[in-house]
């Protein structure tokens, strides 16, 4: 039906159970941007030099580094990096005391 100033305005859809509309500016979805697409270099870890100190995990701005303890087993990499979000900033490489992380071309 024509609304004010002749603009056609739809009535809001009927709410299904467990659903409602809210009005005004609000963000209701927790989500990530695929920041991995920004990279021009990526971290490459030499697991054999890694002492699992955790510095890379501590200082990764995107919090995508997980350092696994030895107890996790032989076939678990000491340092796991979620490349979907890694921006290739290079902090992990810079803070590693054993220099076992190198930034290589993407």
């Amino acid at each position: 039906m024509p609304g004010p100033r002749g603009v056609l305005m739809k009535k809001p859809k009927k709410n299904k159970p467990g659903e409602k509309t809210v009005l005004g500016p609000v963000a209701t979805v927790f989500s990530s941007v695929e920041t991995g697409g920004w990279r021009i270099v990526r971290p490459s870890v030499d697991g054999s030099l890694c002492i699992r100190c955790g510095q890379c995990e501590t200082f990764c701005p995107t919090n995508v580094i997980e350092v696994h303890p030895k107890e996790a087993g032989e076939d678990v990499k000491p340092v796991e990096i979620d490349l979907r979000y890694c921006k290739g900033c290079g902090i992990c490489a810079d803070v590693c005391p054993k220099e076992c992380i190198k930034m290589v071309d993407e």
């Binding site: 004010p4 305005m9 809210v22 009005l23 005004g24 500016p25 609000v26 963000a27 209701t28």
Partner: protein, 409 residues
């Protein structure tokens, strides 16, 4: 009515009573003449324990409105009040309350904006906020200050509205004028105004959301439109709430108040306490056989254009008396809205500006206006020589600072 008690209150006192009856939980008011007694009295009520609330002794009006919004988002009614430049200082944040749909109700004690500096009554402060997205109501009497605040809460918090609202009272003329007021009992108000519940957007770690983040051009119009729909809905909600208030408390209000307009030749549109003087003057003139009428705008936002258009239809002449200048436009603010509301030929609607900066709007001012309207109502061609829009401004306006100088030019 049995659910009310008579008290002698001034406008500030009535506003304080209303806020207390509404059980506000957080107060953040900053003192400014002529509103300061509201900030003071609320502080006393909190200190004595009569009002269970947190009093944030804010360091500016900008903070006052910000803190009120923050508090109300947690689920309590937040109270603040202001005037003049205090309202101007809140300007940036008023839009946040409106856009985030936080239904704060705020008494405004109308006072001129600067410059020139003035302490006294003028509507420029509230008129400057007419696009803020806030509801606006104007009281004519101290009783109305109290009643309109209670009514405003119910309108503002209605699910179909969710808009903040200002209840305006003329500085000093109402804020400091003691009148007999019927104050509803707390139980009766609790029945009329249920406890505040968080609706729509709120801050609660048990139900997180991020409020007021950046919105793209793809969604901004739609959110602004939601506010417009709220104003459209308010047009229906306001009369309904006024009706309920009448049933409970016996005082009848409408979005505008038409006094002896049906058979009037000429009508004066008014707003605020000046309406009382205008009605009194109209009654006197009626005794002399002059067919004059007065309309008072009660709800300025949303503007009652349909109702006003109907009242003013077919009148020989209409005057609109604004208490603010609306500089740069063809006429003053209420005149612009009136002209827009009246269908057809609008050439007989005249803008008047009076009562600025605390100048009293007297019977004589109103009589003069009616006199002009009656003359041009009979013969519009007389308008150029008859109508003086700035009716109470002295003729020597350009000359009031004559000083000595050494220039020989």
């Amino acid at each position: 009515m049995k659910n009310q008690t008579k008290k002698m209150l001034d406008g500030n006192g009535a506003a304080t009573e209303a806020l207390q009856l509404a059980r506000v939980g957080v107060i953040s008011a900053y003192p400014i003449t002529p509103q300061s007694p509201i900030a003071e009295k609320l502080s006393e009520l909190v200190a004595s324990g009569e009002l269970k609330a947190r009093y944030i002794r804010v360091e500016s009006e900008h903070t006052a409105m910000s803190a009120a919004i923050g508090a109300q988002l947690t689920g309590v009614r937040a109270a603040t009040a202001t005037s003049s430049v205090g309202l101007a200082l809140m300007h940036e944040v008023l839009g946040v309350a409106a856009g985030c749909r936080v239904p704060i109700v705020m008494p405004i004690v109308n006072r001129a904006l600067v410059s020139p500096w003035s302490l006294w009554c003028d509507h420029q402060d509230a008129m400057a906020e007419r696009d803020s997205g806030w509801l606006q109501f104007y009281a004519e009497s101290v009783q109305e200050v109290l009643d309109f605040i209670l009514i405003a809460y119910k309108i503002a918090e209605h699910d179909d509205v969710l808009l903040p609202g200002m209840v305006c009272m003329d500085g000093f003329f109402l804020s400091h004028s003691t009148q007999p007021v019927l104050v509803p009992d707390q139980a009766a108000v609790d029945d009329f105004l249920p406890p505040y519940r968080c609706k729509n957007l709120y801050l609660d770690p048990k139900d997180p959301m991020f409020i007021n983040n950046l919105i793209s051009p793809d969604e901004f119009s739609e959110m602004r439109y939601q506010q417009k729909v709220a104003f459209d809905n308010a047009e229906k909600v306001i009369p309904a709430v006024q009706e309920e208030f009448y049933k409970r408390f016996g005082r009848e209000y409408r979005v505008l108040d038409a006094h002896r307009c049906d058979d009037a030749d000429v009508v004066l549109v008014t707003i605020g306490s000046m309406a009382g003087t205008a009605k009194h003057t109209a009654n006197r003139m009626r005794e002399e056989g002059k067919r004059v009428g007065v309309v008072r705008i009660v709800s300025f936002r949303p503007f009652p254009y349909r109702e006003l258009g109907a009242v003013l239809k077919g009148k020989k002449a209409v005057g609109v008396l604004d208490r603010s200048a609306g500089l740069g436009a063809q006429g003053a603010p209420v005149w612009l809205e009136t002209v827009s509301a009246v269908p057809g030929d609008k050439s007989n609607i005249y803008s008047y500006v009076a009562g600025l900066g605390g100048r009293d709007i007297t019977e004589k001012t109103v009589q003069d206006i009616f006199g002009q309207l009656l003359r041009v109502g009979e013969d519009p061609s007389l308008a150029p020589g008859t109508v003086t829009p700035w009716i109470d401004t002295r003729e020597n306006a350009m000359d009031i600072r004559r000083i000595r100088t050494n220039d020989t030019n």
